[in-house]
């Protein structure tokens, strides 16, 4: 949890123009983050390391989704399916060649390709239409795995062959390192990308398409590119999930996963990588807390479902009170809309 505070300092809540001058080169917080992770993995017990690794894997996908939804204004409910694409590609490649670097690259490439296809369609759609199309993509995952069950083994899924970690490193620590290496590299690349011309184009397209077009921004290309970039992140995250669970099945990528991802970036604050990190932490912390509450009350029905309710309530409240995320709360908005 300490790394959250660490990165927060680099992006204080001051107006955009002031903030730009004060911004530190993204490599610095990333290096500090990496150092923190290494220290944490040596001090935390194995289960906490596993949770830390899960935060890293979630951060990889929420960071990409933040660029897509927060900066470019395209809502995707299909990122769970893109993660499944990455995870299944990783599993198939691992089981065939047992070469982790090759499998990671394969997962990212295949998911990027899927991202190009969906992104090309997405660039022509707006608002609820895009949400509906990506929702359909998310829902179709189980039927794909059972239609091609010789490859994907239906609901049972595939187990993932993994090399044992090098030396005497325990599995959980190794998983945390892998996940956070992926997450931090992703964050570094995204932060660099977003600071440049591409980031300005993204925001321009989100805020006013007509003005952006007049200013010479290629709308369709910007939107497709945003989708492709975030799809690549989802593919890597999916592969990391496969490493974490050491198996892949459609049950690991339900529609609620996609909804959770959207929730994470909305709650964290749309359009900022720190928000994506906060969201990733919440995705791991809230279900754990809800599960403990469920165990204390002795009701099996509470497990998991309580987390759903909490997520939903938080999502609705944040959206009504502060559509810009937690960073921009203005309580007057709640009452102003009263018709």
């Amino acid at each position: 949890m300490t790394d959250v505070k660490e990165e927060k300092q680099t992006a204080p809540a001051v107006p955009e123009i002031v903030r730009k001058r004060k911004r530190i080169w993204p490599v610095v917080p990333i290096l500090i983050g990496a150092l923190l992770i290494v220290i944490l993995t040596y001090t935390l017990p194995p289960f906490r390391n596993y949770q830390l690794a899960t935060v890293g894997a979630y951060f990889t996908v929420t960071a990409g989704l933040t660029v897509l939804t927060g900066l470019n204004g395209q809502l995707s409910l299909g990122h769970g399916a893109l993660m499944a694409t990455g995870a299944y590609t990783f599993a198939l490649s691992q089981n065939k060649w047992l070469n982790a670097p090759v499998s990671f690259v394969a997962a990212i490439l295949v998911t990027t390709l899927a991202g190009v296809v969906i992104g090309l369609a997405a660039a022509r759609l707006r608002g609820p239409y895009l949400a509906g199309l990506t929702l359909a993509v998310a829902v179709v995952v189980p039927s794909v795995t059972s239609t091609f069950d010789e490859t994907f083994n239906s609901d049972m899924g595939l187990s993932v062959a993994l090399d044992p970690p090098p030396g005497t490193i325990p599995m959980e620590r190794w998983q945390a390192w892998l996940c956070w290496a992926g997450a931090l590299v992703t964050a570094l690349l995204l932060a660099t990308l977003v600071r440049g011309r591409f980031g300005r184009d993204l925001r321009a397209v989100r805020d006013d398409e007509t003005a952006a077009r007049l200013a010479g921004v290629n709308i369709a290309r910007t939107q497709v590119l945003a989708f492709v970039v975030s799809a690549a992140c989802a593919g890597l995250a999916g592969a990391l999930f496969a490493v974490l669970a050491q198996s892949v099945s459609p049950g690991a990528f339900p529609l609620t996963l996609s909804l959770f991802l959207v929730m994470a970036i909305v709650i964290g604050g749309l359009g900022r990588l720190v928000g994506a990190l906060l969201g990733a932490v919440l995705l791991v912390a809230l279900p754990t807390l809800a599960q403990q509450a469920g165990e204390r009350s002795g009701s099996q029905h509470l497990e998991g479902n309580l987390a759903l309710v909490v997520f939903g309530v938080v999502l609705v409240v944040v959206m009504l009170a502060a559509p810009g995320g937690l960073a921009s709360i203005r309580f007057t908005t709640i009452f102003r809309r009263n018709r």
Binding site: A131, G132, L315, R337
Partner: protein, 292 residues
């Protein structure tokens, strides 16, 4: 040929349900320019209410009425407590709030009833009548057609023949002018949500027994089919919703009949992509709506 006929009737019966569900989406879209992504979850909640009432009283019809009434109330509550306060400056906001509702409803249902599949009874037998040795329709199919037909007729009478319907259309079409003329625009919006949720509940009651059974996420796939139906017809058009529903129903029936049930969701996705990219306005709508 026998099989084709059977699949056609089966598809029309499925399609009638999707038509009702798509109609509920269109009702809210016309009134509030929101696609209610929580429609499926709300319908499942109503079916659970029916399940409880039927189990307690032993009467299917009491449960049926309870589901519709619950749907009406849920629509009012959702509109009055949540949807009314959504910031409409970006179309994403309404969608995200609806997704939050999905999580809440599914979570609450899971807490109350657990996450296992429950079988649901039907009021009529589902084995098909035979006409000249060909199995065509079941009693249940006839019930589905009658129920959806009644709803379509009642809604069209409401909108074209009554003062309330005129006010609802006015409030949706020109809210500011309507308000000046004394139409309670907020009230009409609430009424629209209530009607839509009730129609959605009816669709849920009709479709759940024919699918896998009752489960908090039972309507996810159905919602996608209904959304596709609404898009095929154009989100603005009630006639389009009914036509779109029948098209999707037929497609699903033929695909699962000839290619296998697991292929069906992919066929719906394909149809959605083709329609959105090829004829973005839907069959019955102008393409302008697509930019909203």
């Amino acid at each position: 040929m026998d099989r084709f006929l059977y699949l056609t009737f089966d598809g029309l019966s499925r399609g009638a349900v999707y038509a009702a569900f798509a109609l509920a989406l269109v009702l809210i879209w016309r009134a509030a320019r929101i696609v209610n992504f929580a429609q499926g979850a709300m319908a499942v909640a109503a079916v659970y209410v029916a399940y409880s009432v039927t189990n307690a009283t032993g009467s299917y019809w009491l449960g049926f009425v309870a589901a519709i009434v619950f749907g009406l109330l849920l629509g009012v509550v959702v509109e009055k407590t949540v949807m009314r306060f959504v910031d409409h400056s970006s179309p994403l906001n309404g969608v995200v709030v609806a997704l939050g509702l999905v999580l809440i409803v599914q979570g609450v249902l899971g807490i109350l009833y657990g996450n296992e599949y429950r079988p649901v009874e039907t009021p009529f037998r589902r084995d098909a009548f035979e006409v000249g040795g060909i199995a065509l329709l079941s009693r249940y199919d006839v019930f589905v057609f009658a129920a959806v037909g009644a709803v379509v007729v009642a809604l069209s009478l409401l909108f074209t023949r009554t003062a309330v319907g005129l006010r609802m259309r006015a409030a949706a079409f020109a809210p500011d002018v309507s308000r000046l003329l004394g139409v309670p625009v907020g009230g009409m919006l609430t009424l629209g949500w209530a009607l839509a949720a009730a129609v959605g509940s009816l669709a849920g009651m009709l479709v759940v027994p024919t699918e896998l059974g009752l489960h908090p996420t039972a309507m996810d796939v159905v919602f996608v089919s209904a959304f596709t139906a609404a898009v095929v017809g154009g989100l603005d058009s009630p006639i389009g919703a009914v036509t779109g529903g029948l098209i999707v129903g037929l497609l699903l029936s033929y695909v699962s009949g000839y290619l296998g049930a697991t292929v069906a969701p992919m066929a719906v996705l394909l149809l959605l992509v083709v329609v959105l990219l090829g004829k973005p306005g839907g069959l019955f709508s102008s393409s302008k709506a697509r930019l909203a």
